[in-house]
């Protein structure tokens, strides 16, 4: 891997100016408005996610960032360049994985990475890249014979071949089984660990929550909110609950007396304790222990990004 960053470059990077800056872009196809009003910044070294249902405008936004489309209005800067106007200067500095892309059916893995490497001024070693992505055994296989996970790993290889500063990944894990998905997440974290910035789209809330440092929630071509997953949850869905089972009849009142507790419902030996403080779980455990309440079951219900999406849009992301 070519990790040689010159001192001059690292000096520039150490001043935190956004790698990607999107200001009020808009894009329509005929009368269909794909992107209505999207703005966000991406900081160096983070994994930034565009999250929303299919058709929300994520891919169109990505393709504007990659220089494949020009927005009808608004401004985009990627690494200080205009992606559409300065496309040729930008293409050598970014890595791209497109949604549902294919390669030639009968191209081998090896041919693909070596060809891609030949298109860039200072590529990484293709053989080493194949090793890192676990594709060494498949290097002589035709594209059409690869599994879904192998194809996606190959596309990651092609996105990394030029040692890019920013990597754009569009619906990277769609259609993969959970195991392959987790393997891909590890690879994406590895990209961040090498100091690169990652911008990805996903309609999987779990993926966004576990992989992204910050997410922008997009719906109907608009950004609804941008923050860390935890920040979004704390702001929009602070409600959390502890559900426990006990035969102790004094328990509900003891929980009601706790400071951060908003409501306690008891029915059939099952007690639901609701609150909005981050210390709720610890407070309940403390109380159980202090009063020696005989608990036979204990679980927590924590809000997720899924709940945030539901709260912000009024419907589930799968609707």
């Amino acid at each position: 891997m070519n990790c040689g960053v010159s001192p001059a470059v690292s000096l520039i990077v150490s001043v935190p100016s956004p790698v990607v800056r999107v200001s009020s872009i808009r894009k329509a196809y005929g009368r269909v408005v794909a992107v209505d009003d999207v703005s966000f910044d991406v900081q160096p070294g983070e994994i930034f996610g565009l999250v929303g249902p299919n058709g929300a405008g994520k891919t169109t936004t990505m393709e504007c960032l990659e220089g494949l489309r020009a927005p009808d209005a608004g401004r985009i800067s990627v690494l200080g360049l205009d992606p559409f106007r300065d496309a040729s200067a930008l293409k050598v500095r970014i890595g791209v994985q497109l949604q549902e892309a294919q390669l030639q059916k009968r191209i081998t893995v090896r041919e693909a990475v070596y060809f891609w490497a030949s298109l860039y001024p200072s590529p990484v070693d293709p053989g080493q890249l194949l090793d890192q992505l676990g594709l060494r055994d498949k290097r002589n296989a035709w594209f059409m014979t690869l599994s879904g996970g192998q194809k996606q790993r190959l596309f990651i290889a092609l996105a990394l071949i030029n040692d890019p500063e920013v990597v754009f990944l569009d619906e990277l894990t769609t259609g993969l089984d959970p195991q392959a998905r987790r393997a891909i997440w590890e690879l994406v974290r590895g990209i961040r660990a090498r100091g690169k910035t990652v911008v990805l789209t996903t309609h999987l809330m779990e993926e966004a929550e576990r992989l992204c440092d910050r997410v922008a929630i997009i719906e109907h071509g608009r950004v609804i909110d941008v923050d860390t997953p935890a920040g979004l949850v704390a702001r929009h869905c602070p409600d959390r609950a502890v559900i426990l089972a006990t035969a102790d009849l004094t328990a509900p009142d003891r929980f009601r007396a706790l400071a951060g507790v908003d409501a306690v419902d008891a029915a059939n030996g099952s007690i639901t304790i609701r609150g909005r403080t981050t210390g709720l779980v610890a407070d309940v455990i403390q109380c159980v222990s202090a009063h020696q309440i005989a608990v036979t079951d204990f679980r927590t219900v924590m809000p997720t990004l899924e709940d945030v999406f539901l709260r912000l849009t009024g419907h589930s992301i799968r609707d």
Binding site: V92, A101, Q102, Q104, R106, I107, F115, L119
Partner: protein, 247 residues
Amino acid sequence: MNGLWRLTWLEIKIFIREPLGLFGTVGVPVLVFLGLGRVMRGAATPASPEEAFLRAGLPVFAALLMAISAVVSLVTVIAIYREGGILKRLRATPLRPATILVAHVLVKLLFTALTLALLIAAGRRVYAPDSPAQVIRFAAALLFTTCSLLSVGFLIASLVPTARFAQPLAGVIFYPMIALSGLFFPLALLPPWLEAVARILPLTHAVSLMQGMWRGDPLSSHLWDAGVIALVFAACTALSARVFRWE
């Protein structure tokens, strides 16, 4: 430029890996040529129409098949590449958009030249050309024609909605053109309006040019044919540059 040669070489390798496509491009024209030649030689007597067709018609017919199969194959490949997002993925690389398409033109021209070489080798005893110059002029006329028809192919590729329609649509456009090209019967036999149509079709001029080059006519007597073919090339290239769809 480097990228163009690398991509062309890659596409050649990929093309060879599909046996059916290779057979359609190289095998069919050669087999049609040898098969028809054998059948007609049985019927041919000196100065009969069969003999005339064998001398000047059949080589041109085989060449026309090669040019058209190149176009049909180009339209199909472009449609498949577009549908699969391959064109889009290549466009996200530093390759220039024109390079991505020109590589396919070079592959088609290369296989057309290769098929012609096979054809000439296979038919050497019967169709012994008068001189190597004649062969070279004929080959040049064929490649020039193929180039022009490929530009029509890009226009068709912009029209086809999906890869499934590529082959039928290209066929519907080109096969009637073969019938009206003057290769099988003189255009004067057609009703006047149809003759007028036939005279503006590019294949009619392609046939006239290739037949002329095969007979050893001077190029000066076919400048009009060459001009029409060049015009078709220029017009279709300019038009496809505007309407070509990458996705």
